[in-house]
């Protein structure tokens, strides 16, 4: 079993934090494409369109018949043929994390791969392969024990590939909704040390306020994402103590573009959803970037929950979908910026949630608990894109297959 992570001690404010470096980032275009699947938690290798042979490392043509290659999901089984513990590296990120274990894996899918090893994996073991994103947003093969073991997630090497909430301090931006509260509870259950729970209007009560604020680990904070001053003030107070940001804020009103819409709703949804996201990033991202490799409770992730309709638009919710599209775009930009410093930028795509503003939509809708599970999953796996609920999964799959068709289908 893996040693449970120690509860981090208070940091000495006079000591210089360890620099938030990332592993070497130079990659081929094929490897970058592999990263797009790693971001979804899929285990893929290239398969030849002609002879069907499976190949690795990423190539541009099949080594058996020179056919073209397509990424495809593969069997996750493998056997570890050789193991080494690296004790010396000329790369500064790995130097800070020595010793580091790697191995040669014979994949059940066929090829041989050099892989990162979980601490419990030994030479000769059967393992389960995972494809993850490293701190720089690049794809990485990581072998874990075949079966779940106690504290498996606490493996220090694995933790470099996740944003596990255990022992970390999380800011949930809007605790006034059932969703925000469900996520806060799920994070505490997943081991978060503290959840700073945002409240845009502390003088106004909201349903569940007394119960959630009474829970150990919850610290209510005043935070209004439409108010730059409010964001900056909280960032100044908490900046160096927030390890994960989970943005649960959003403003959804039904309405079309030319019909049945109010411009004030459109402005509100953009101001909270898109501009609010940028305010949040500007407030918290710099301090997080400086602490991305700061021990057990290093800063790890910036997560945004966003309607999946941002990919396609949505009839009847045109403004909300447009604001979601802007959020997705801003998150892509932020991802590129944060890859330099090792902070994961994660999007949880959600279908319509089961709240008062989606009354007219048919089932299935996303329950708060479901969304909370998706958020914890995204963090514990360090996964870039996670779909919460069946509507999001269905739309995301259709969009990957044919984005233009999906836009038509969603705007009829």
């Amino acid at each position: 079993m893996t040693e449970p992570l120690p509860i981090p001690k208070r940091k000495d404010p006079l000591k210089r934090s360890r620099f938030g470096l990332v592993p070497p980032g130079l990659r081929s275009r094929a490897a970058s494409e592999m990263a797009t699947f790693a971001a979804q938690g899929r285990f893929v290798l290239q398969s030849c369109d002609r002879c069907r042979s499976i190949t690795y490392p990423p190539r541009d043509r099949c080594p058996s018949c020179w056919g073209t290659l397509t990424w495809a999901d593969q069997d996750r089984g493998a056997r570890i043929e050789a193991v080494t513990t690296i004790r010396h590296s000329t790369d500064n990120f790995f130097r800070n994390h020595m010793p580091w274990r790697i191995g040669t894996a014979r994949l059940d899918a066929g090829p041989v791969a050099i892989v990162h090893l979980h601490g419990e994996v030994q030479q000769g073991d059967r393992v389960r392969m995972t494809l993850r994103l490293d701190r720089g947003g690049n794809p990485a093969l990581f072998a874990v024990p075949q079966k779940e073991t106690p504290n498996m997630q606490d493996d220090p090497q694995l933790r470099c590939f996740t944003a596990d909430p255990k022992h970390r301090r999380v800011l949930v931006t809007d605790g006034r909704t059932a969703i925000g509260q469900a996520i806060a509870r799920a994070l505490l259950k997943a081991g978060a040390q503290t959840v700073f729970l945002g409240d845009a209007d502390p003088l106004m009560r909201y349903p569940g306020k007394a119960e959630i604020e009474a829970q150990e680990g919850i610290e209510p904070v005043s935070l209004n994402l439409t108010d730059s001053g409010s964001v900056q003030e909280l960032a100044a107070q908490l900046g160096g103590r927030v390890d994960i940001v989970v943005n649960t804020a959003g403003f959804v009103r039904p309405g079309g573009v030319a019909f049945g819409a109010k411009l004030s709703d459109l402005q509100a949804t953009f101001d909270l959803g898109a501009v609010g996201l940028a305010r949040l990033a500007q407030g918290f991202a710099p301090a997080m970037s400086a602490r991305s490799d700061d021990g057990v409770n290093s800063a790890a992730a910036f997560l945004d929950i966003v309607p999946v309709s941002g990919l396609s638009g949505q009839s009847g919710y045109a403004g909300a979908a447009a604001s979601a599209a802007a959020r997705l775009s801003l998150m892509s930009g932020l991802r590129g910026e944060m890859q330099q410093s090792g902070i994961r930028v994660l999007s949880v795509l959600t279908g319509p949630v089961d709240d008062d503003w989606h009354q007219d939509l048919p089932q299935p809708k996303v329950a708060p608990g479901q969304l909370a599970r998706a958020v914890v999953h995204a963090l514990t796996e360090g996964q870039g894109i996670t779909c919460a609920g069946d509507v999001a999964k269905d739309l995301f799959a259709r969009w990957q297959a044919n984005p233009l068709l999906t836009m038509r289908e969603e705007n009829r």
């Binding site: 990423p58 513990t85 000329t90 580091w100 790697i102 050099i114």
Partner: protein
């Protein structure tokens, strides 16, 4: 596959080594020029006399042999660029020998040169190859040490070889290096020191690793007539082999391309491994030395422990091995590391070694191994050389 055509009408001469230094602010071009200058001193040849040029380097970017030819004022009618590191010496020899034999060139200068500036080792690794950049170095960035640790551990398990056995090879090479005034490692190494060295990437320890450095190596390939005219001692090529990307089905490398072609090598050479008076094999790690001894036919792999125990690999020993100290003790000057096996083998049979002379040496086996493109060395080659004329 028929027998290789013999290398008639070919003479190799003028083994040249530009003394290595640990770090150098100079460029690969500077080191290549130094090698040519040294070659000129030995042979009396100037730029106009060299009509063939073969070049190997890791650190000449953005230049290739083209840039080098203009940089160094050559006007060859034949040239080649060999980007295969540890296999580059044997490969340069093969190409230059055929060019001379067929009359495409008469005097071919084969040059390997690399510099080693502060931090250039890390930079070379970071962009070494597409596969290593995508699929090995981001995995702990242990460099070749980590890759060869996987190979070494597997080899030890598969063939029952222990660290002591590898240690004997390293200690013998250090002993050989002590007589070589140009070797970077100048102090004796004991087996105890080898065994208690600090671990680098298990089971690879400090004295299993080479010291990267700057340096250059060169030799001349020409006709026996020209060698005589220049008053140069020369050697002939009895046989050569070359193979790339062999045995892709092996999960972890435990053999190289030599195993596929060794019969052809010895058959053409008309002799057997036991006829070699010295053996100069590529030695980035001792496991590769052991692998070559077996793959080239000195013993079977399960017998390596006994074979290594039964032999003395020092210069006066039963099987003089890497008699200049090899890269493990003389230093690894980038691609020049793939030439020093050839220049040292040549020196021993031409009786002009850097250090001690192997008694009665007239035949040498030279073996190259290069380019860990992903998880294993891809390029292999070997050559059997014999003394032609002493002048």
């Amino acid at each position: 596959m028929g027998l290789q055509s013999p290398y008639e009408g070919v003479a190799i001469c003028a083994p040249t080594t530009v003394p290595y230094v640990r770090f150098s602010p100079e460029s690969a071009h500077w080191w290549a020029g130094a090698a040519l200058q040294s070659l000129a001193q030995t042979t009396g040849l100037g730029p106009a006399d060299i009509d063939g040029f073969c070049f190997a380097s890791f650190s000449a970017a953005p230049d290739t042999v083209v840039g080098m030819v203009q940089h160094l004022g050559l006007s060859p009618r034949w040239m080649d660029h060999i980007p295969t590191g540890g296999a580059s010496g044997v490969m340069a020899l093969r190409r230059a020998a055929r060019a001379v034999q067929c009359g495409d060139a008469e005097v071919v200068a084969c040059v390997a040169a690399d510099t080693n500036q502060i931090d250039s080792y890390r930079q070379t690794l970071a962009g070494f190859s597409r596969f290593s950049q995508d699929a090995t170095y981001p995995y702990g960035f242990g460099g070749p040490n980590a890759t060869f640790a996987l190979i070494t551990g597997n080899f030890m398990r598969q063939f029952g070889v222990t660290r002591e056995t590898f240690g004997k090879l390293c200690v013998a090479q250090r002993q050989n290096a002590l007589s070589n005034p140009l070797a970077l490692m100048k102090t004796p190494l004991t087996l105890d020191q080898y065994m208690s060295a600090r671990p680098i990437s298990d089971p690879v320890h400090l004295f299993d690793c080479v010291m990267p450095c700057a340096g250059a190596e060169a030799f001349l390939v020409t006709t026996p007539e020209k060698a005589e005219e220049l008053g140069l001692s020369s050697a002939r090529v009895l046989a050569t082999i070359e193979r790339h990307n062999a045995f892709t089905e092996d999960s972890v490398q435990f053999r190289g391309g030599w195993e596929r072609d060794r019969e052809a090598l010895w058959q053409r050479a008309g002799c057997v491994p036991e006829d070699m008076h010295c053996v100069q094999v590529y030695d980035d790690y001792p496991v590769i030395v052991a692998m070559q001894l077996a793959d080239l036919g000195f013993c079977e792999k399960p017998d390596l422990t006994d074979f290594i125990a039964a032999n003395d690999f020092t210069i006066p020993g039963s099987l003089p091995l890497n008699t200049n100290g090899g890269q493990l003790s003389a230093g690894q000057a980038g691609a020049a590391g793939g030439f020093q096996n050839l220049t040292e083998g040549l020196r021993q049979i031409l009786r002009c070694p850097l250090g001690d002379q192997v008694p009665e040496a007239a035949r040498a086996l030279v073996s190259g191994f290069g380019l860990v493109n992903y998880d294993r060395g891809v390029c292999t080659g070997a050559a059997v050389l014999e003394r032609q004329a002493l002048r």
